[in-house]
Subunit: 340 residues, 2 copies
């Protein structure tokens, strides 16, 4: 709690105080070479007494290490990605590393700039949440710096991606509906080009196929992961006059939107139409009716990502954990009745 604004204490000061050379001080600081016990003690004492704190810039400049992890986020306010970011912060909290954030706004250009900034800041590794740089850029990156893609799947880098099996999860979501007796199941997709979305569509189709239910393309609506597309999806479906008794939405936001559109038409959930979402964001348990959804543990993913990246940085075996999503059944699904 000393306030003095005097010059910062440097290893040179410590060296003088402990009667050793700068190098020795550096050695005890980094534990890189054996140092005699008495000298080490003297140095440690001096450091304590003088309240020494190493200058991270000098350190970084000289060593090339920054003890900083760059995190590229997508400022879409998506609760899932937010929770991943929070997880990364948590995962790094007890380590010597700190997370440095930059935002890509879902734009490859911006993402590229963000990465550039981060690299300019000499980050020791990169966690890219929700993709964004193009595969080419990624390829280039991956050779220069330890990197991990999180919350999404990029084919090119199976061992550098941390994601859940979207297809399988979507399969289970759809299967849940089928087991309840539904046959006319609609799917409102996410951004069609997004890997996650593609996987979920696949799972949906596979579940239907395995149950010998023909896929009716008119029951599939191409959305974009946000609430509005859920609203639009239901409105379109209704306009098409196709009857359906259930909806599998690509994520919770979409599910909320779909539920709202049904509400406006006086169509009951789940009595008339069942809904399954994807993400299990906080609100899923609070909406009416509480939403049956796929639980995707964003924070755990973030924590695991941080740990894994640190291992990669320290040249340990990467060991990508396979994170699993699971179905959480709440009140938005039930056996079909009339349908709509």
């Amino acid at each position: 709690m000393d306030s003095s604004v005097k010059k910062n204490v440097t290893i040179t000061d410590i060296a003088a105080h402990a009667n050793v050379s700068k190098s020795t001080v550096s050695r005890v600081l980094n534990d890189t070479t054996p140092v005699n016990e008495d000298k080490r003690a003297a140095v440690l004492a001096a450091m304590k007494e003088m309240n020494f704190e190493p200058n991270i810039f000098a350190r970084g400049l000289a060593s090339g290490q920054s003890y900083t992890i760059g995190v590229v986020t997508q400022n879409l306010g998506s609760p899932f990605y937010d929770s991943i970011a929070q997880g990364v912060i948590a995962g790094l909290a007890k380590t010597a590393y700190s997370p440095l954030f930059a935002d890509a706004q879902w734009q490859p250009e911006v993402g590229k700039a963000a990465v550039k900034t981060l690299i300019g800041r000499m980050v020791d590794g990169l966690i890219i949440v929700g993709t964004c740089p193009t595969p080419d850029d990624l390829e280039e990156l991956n050779q220069n710096i330890p990197m991990l893609l999180v919350g999404t799947q990029v084919k090119q880098w199976p061992d550098r991606c941390m994601f859940i099996d979207n297809e399988q999860a979507a399969f289970e979501a759809t299967q849940h509906l089928i087991e309840l007796g539904h046959k006319k199941i609609s799917h409102i997709t996410g951004v069609p080009t997004h890997e996650d979305s593609i996987g979920r569509v696949k799972g949906y189709r596979r579940a239907l196929k395995e149950a010998n239910i023909d896929v009716d393309e008119d029951l599939i609506y191409e959305g974009n992961f946000d609430g509005e597309s859920g609203v639009a999806g239901v409105e379109t479906l209704l306009k098409r006059k196709k009857s359906f008794t259930a909806i599998f939405a690509a994520n919770d936001a979409t599910a909320f939107g779909a539920r709202l559109a049904l509400y406006r038409q006086g169509i009951r959930v789940p009595e008339d139409v069942s809904i399954v979402g994807f993400d299990d964001q906080t609100e899923a348990a609070l909406v009416t009716p509480p939403l049956t959804t796929i639980q995707q543990p964003g924070d755990e993913i973030g924590i695991a990502a941080a740990e894994t990246l640190l291992k990669i940085i320290n040249k340990q075996e990467p060991e990508i954990q396979k994170l699993t999503a699971k179905l959480v059944v709440r009140d938005s699904t039930c056996p079909p009745s009339s349908g709509v």
Copy 2:
């Protein structure tokens, strides 16, 4: 799309390429001294061509500045605080500064450690989201480093806090209900000791008082800002057998919880009970019925905070903007009928 992995480009390289000295390159980089237009152009061209990115450590070491802003967050997954954090990222995006995050988990101890880490990393300024260090710690901090508290109000530092007028906003929320004809209005509070919560309670009381409605203490339930407390609040209210026709919830999450509890009891919203929330988080517009709430622009607050802090750092006039919240009327409120 050049891929070469060669050594990083330094100002020395740029200098050579542009036929000037290192100093000149530094000058155009920092805009600190006039430089001839042709040389400046040559330097700029070289920087672009060689894809130059200044090394932040070298810079920091030489100048004492880090071009880094420390951001202390509260990992509560609260959408409001998340959006502030996103806003800070956005506000810093186009500047030379980058945000360095650390998490305080709503614990003063952890917050203190977080701040220490950040300072050890020589951040040029500190943005503390949602408070956490104790006032004493803050006092000490404020003298050593430019600092801004965001999304909350701490009496001691009126000119270092960026927050909306909670009392006024709550007043308007309650007034809206009163104008619709409600007289028996319940309030489910946030964390009782939290400044924001205290302000909202005050606004609620003032609105009732100005309308000559007696405050019924039994209609006030002490919650804690999360969904569960909304559920518990309504259950308690119902158990107390006090009738009420409207609820003003301390935030949206609480409102969602309250709405769910009512739903479970078969009590309709808004026909039987109107609800007003606070925050206008994304889901507020998607729940059923869409929630009338106070719109608190988290991202704008974050952006403004970043800009303000930068001004403080650069010794310009602080000029704390007074950010305003406004009522967004949706479908969860209507004139009272029977009530419950």
